[in-house]
């Protein structure tokens, strides 16, 4: 059994759990997300609690992972160092933030909402996939290095 096949069921279960958390947290509701980003209007601080809960549990797991040679399913860890800050990181993140603010949707909730067979969610998800494809072409033409696996 290849590594990829062995991780098939855990991957599905983890996607399901991740999406379940997104539904419970309110992240799948664009107005809720924009309510958090709207600090000058009526501000809904809920998303700070989502982040707090996620990073609190996440820190524990990433701390534990440092004590292991390989993952519990025997895979090598694909995350390690910190590559430092560069213009590509800043420009990309800035562009991402504009799209996120404009719509109230980031990639996780975009896919979860697609699972509800919503027309607007489908438009967003298709455009997002196109944006990813465009970036790949742009990176190839501009000879920009693409990190293999970070996010």
């Amino acid at each position: 059994m290849t590594a990829s096949k062995r991780s098939l069921i855990p991957s599905f279960a983890l996607g399901l759990l991740f999406g379940f958390g997104l539904c419970l947290s309110g992240m799948t509701q664009p107005p809720k997300v924009q309510g958090f980003l709207d600090i000058a209007g009526l501000w809904d601080p809920s998303l700070a609690f989502v982040m707090g809960g996620a990073v609190g549990i996440g820190m524990l797991a990433f701390f534990l992972s440092r004590r292991l040679e390989r993952s519990l399913l025997g895979e090598p860890f694909s995350f390690s160092g910190d590559n430092g800050v560069d213009a590509q990181l800043l420009i990309g993140s800035a562009i991402f933030g504009v799209g996120w603010g404009l719509s109230g949707v980031c990639p996780g909730p975009a896919i979860v909402n697609l699972g509800l067979f919503d027309a607007k969610a489908a438009i967003f998800a298709a455009a997002m996939a196109a944006g990813m494809g465009l970036e790949k072409l742009f990176a190839l033409r501009a000879h920009i290095k693409q990190p293999e696996e970070e996010s």
């Binding site: 990433f62 993952s71 465009l134």
Partner: protein, 143 residues
Amino acid sequence: MQIDWLHFSPWSALSGGALIGLAAGLCALLLGRVAGVSGILAGLIPPRPGDVAWRAAFIAGLLAAPAAFAMVHPLARPEFGSGPATLAVAGLLVGFGARLGSGCTSGHGVCGLSRLSLRSAVATATFMATAIVTVFLVRHVFQ
């Protein structure tokens, strides 16, 4: 600043966040992978041989999540505040920007901050800042 007490939902936010962190943490411990949704999806555009199955399975799990959630708790349909054209532009920016910046809210925000990555902290601060400015412009300047 005025708090929106009507919509403030600390408990579902905190417990939903904890589930997200649990999924991301288990992804690291079991698969040795960072659960960054944009990175997992982008690996399928175009698909790379030998690396497709786990990515497709994770995305399938995300797609199945609302149906599973609706079995235990009522789930409201998403209400988009913007029209199709705006959503298309926003989607392009989200997809392009997340890849150029090598991460989104899950990869840099949840996983990056959890593993104390400076790079991810800078990315998170950057997209939070431009998202806040965008919402400010849309809601309070161009309205």
